[in-house]
């Protein structure tokens, strides 16, 4: 089937046009002062780079990291046991559980956020003043991305050779030690891909922080959104490139950790 090599070319061109060209355009925009993408009045400027020193950026980066790390930790604490219990349960129809995991994702994500917002504003919960807090943003992020953590862990646990656990049991190793020495280390690849799948959208999203945070929880995504809203494409482009580089660095580091993932 080697003769079909040529079929990759149109898609390659498409990717270059929509991935590489925009990145180059953004990079060029960082050195200018323009009104939106109107290049007619463009002048050379390093303002965007000067603004990178602004403390609000470090605050937003710190908030993103804080929200994403806590989200990942809570997702592991809630998701790992669920994946484990389901995988090791004697229930026959396990595919039903998988279905139950996917089903929430078929509801519109924006409407789900709005529903949480309505719930947080009911008389019973209004006293807690949840809207506009980090806690509420983290909570909603967790409930939104939890399936992305449960899925890979569950898949790894299902594929695991149960004979190893049986063997450990037969050798008289206590259950908790079997878990720590065998089950958990073997399921780490699931945990790490789940972590990546939760961490990236949690750190760079802006829908949840915008709606649940009501402008009080400012993540890097919110910062980028406001900068573009103010028509500052130069500083906005720099921030976007910065986020892209950070993401690629995180992904690169994690693939070094877990070995090159197979396609």
């Amino acid at each position: 089937m080697k003769r079909f090599k040529g079929l990759a070319i149109p898609y390659f061109v498409w990717l270059v046009l929509l991935v590489v060209v925009p990145l180059l355009a953004m990079f060029a925009l960082t050195f200018m002062q323009t009104n939106g993408t109107n290049l007619a009045t463009a002048v050379f400027s390093l303002d965007a780079y000067k603004r990178m020193l602004d403390p609000s950026i470090y605050k937003a980066l710190w908030n993103s990291l804080y929200v994403a790390v806590l989200t990942v930790v809570i997702c592991i604490l809630l998701g790992y046991p669920v994946a484990y219990f389901i995988s090791f349960s004697k229930i026959k129809n396990k595919s039903l559980f998988l279905l139950l995991l996917i089903l929430p994702m078929w509801s519109n994500s924006m409407l789900r956020i709005v529903s949480w917002l309505r719930l947080f504003s009911t008389d019973a919960l209004a006293a807690l003043n949840l809207v506009g807090t980090d806690a509420a943003v983290i909570f909603v992020t967790v409930t939104t991305y939890l399936p992305f953590m449960i899925f890979p862990i569950y898949t790894v646990l299902e594929k695991m050779d149960r004979g190893l656990i049986e063997a450990s049991k037969d050798l008289g190793v206590p259950a908790w030690k079997t878990f720590l020495k065998i089950t958990f280390p073997l399921s780490l690849s699931g945990v790490s891909s789940g972590t990546l799948m939760v961490f990236l959208p949690a750190a760079t999203g802006f829908a949840i922080s915008q709606t649940i945070g009501q402008g009080k929880v400012r993540l890097i995504g919110n910062l980028i959104q406001t900068v573009f809203e103010k028509n500052n494409y130069n500083f906005g482009s720099l921030l976007s490139i910065f986020v892209t580089v950070m993401i690629l660095a995180v992904v690169g580091a994690s693939s070094l950790f877990t070995g090159r993932r197979k396609h």
Binding site: M1, R3, F4, K5, G6, L7, A8, P10, Y11, F12, W14, L15, L17, L18, V19, V20, V21, L23, A25, M26, T37, P81, V82, F85, L96, L100, L101, L103, W106, S107, N108, S109, M110, L111, R112, I113, V114, S115, R118, L119, S121, T122, D123, V142, L146, L200, P201, G205, F206, A207, G221, I224, F228, Y233, S237, S240, V243, I247, L248, H263
Partner: protein
């Protein structure tokens, strides 16, 4: 020993089940609220979630609220076309990528990963920049065209992710056999290779539709000229406080329909499995 521990095991089992139910209820809470609100007469009242009585009015609103049904139709238009086109592009791109040499393959994989890994907001903005640079050439680009291109862009990598591994497992001798029996390369591809990818193609199409219909951020930056999608309608109408309770009804309807289809399929496959036994 087993008998002695049985009550303990039972207790552990119950606690485990309770934990699973608790976590699932966290994920399902918004779905329950959406369904509850879809039948609630006072879904839009100032005191949130207060029950004002049972009604089907919200469901009727889907067909009477012009703004709502326009965005729903826009959403479906973009998502159905995206599913169709992205699946085809993804299929042929996968066949091409599969044929590449190791080195070219590596570069292609890396490039194909970027739309999946990069933050949605950066993807949305970079597409918006490209479209605004093209705007002097194509004045009406913002709207259906921009959103359609954007949705194809971010869904194709997922389609490839579904199809390519399956393609790698496909036995190349099947293709060779078809060639030896006198098939042209193209007809061997269409008659032998592509049919063997059936489920993977279906999965790819399903994931493309799911991602497209739910998208908020990328559509936020590529909407325009009065063309938007459901997520953005919910966002903007909620912030502008002219939110239609018909949104709950539409979403609930979608949940019921997908649940129905899925239950139907799983019942059917269950039956088949039993018959086989």
């Amino acid at each position: 020993m087993l008998v002695k521990n049985s009550w303990k095991n039972k207790l552990v089992g119950i606690l485990q089940a309770l934990f699973v139910v608790f976590v699932f209820s966290l994920m399902y809470m918004p779905i329950f609220i959406i369904i509850y609100q879809s039948f609630n007469k006072t879904a839009n009242s100032i005191s949130p979630l207060s029950w004002g009585g049972f009604t089907f009015d919200n469901y009727i609103e889907i067909f009477t609220n012009r703004q709502l049904y326009t965005t729903i139709l826009d959403s479906l238009l973009v998502s159905l076309w995206t599913t169709f086109v992205a699946t085809i592009i993804g299929l042929f791109a996968s066949i091409g990528i599969n044929a590449l040499s190791r080195k070219a393959r590596k570069a292609m994989d890396a490039l194909n990963d970027i739309p999946m890994l990069n933050s949605e907001i950066v993807t949305g903005i970079s597409l918006m920049i490209i479209f605004s640079l093209l705007k002097p050439l194509i004045p009406g680009i913002f709207g259906f065209t921009s959103m359609f291109v954007a949705h194809i862009f971010f869904t194709v990598p997922y389609v490839i992710l579904m199809i390519l591994p399956k393609l790698e497992q496909t036995d190349e001798t099947l293709f060779e056999a078809a060639r030896d029996l006198g098939c042209s390369p193209a007809s061997a591809l269409f008659k032998v290779v592509i049919p063997s990818l059936g489920t993977a193609i279906l999965m790819g199409a399903l994931i493309a539709f799911t991602l497209s219909i739910d998208d908020f951020v990328i559509s936020f930056y590529t909407q325009g000229n009065g063309f938007s999608n459901f997520s953005n309608y919910v966002y903007s109408s909620y912030t502008k406080k002219n939110f239609s309770a018909g949104s709950y009804a539409f979403n609930a309807l979608l949940t019921f329909v997908t649940l129905g289809i899925v239950l139907f399929i799983s019942l059917k496959t269950n039956k088949k499995g039993k018959e086989k036994k």
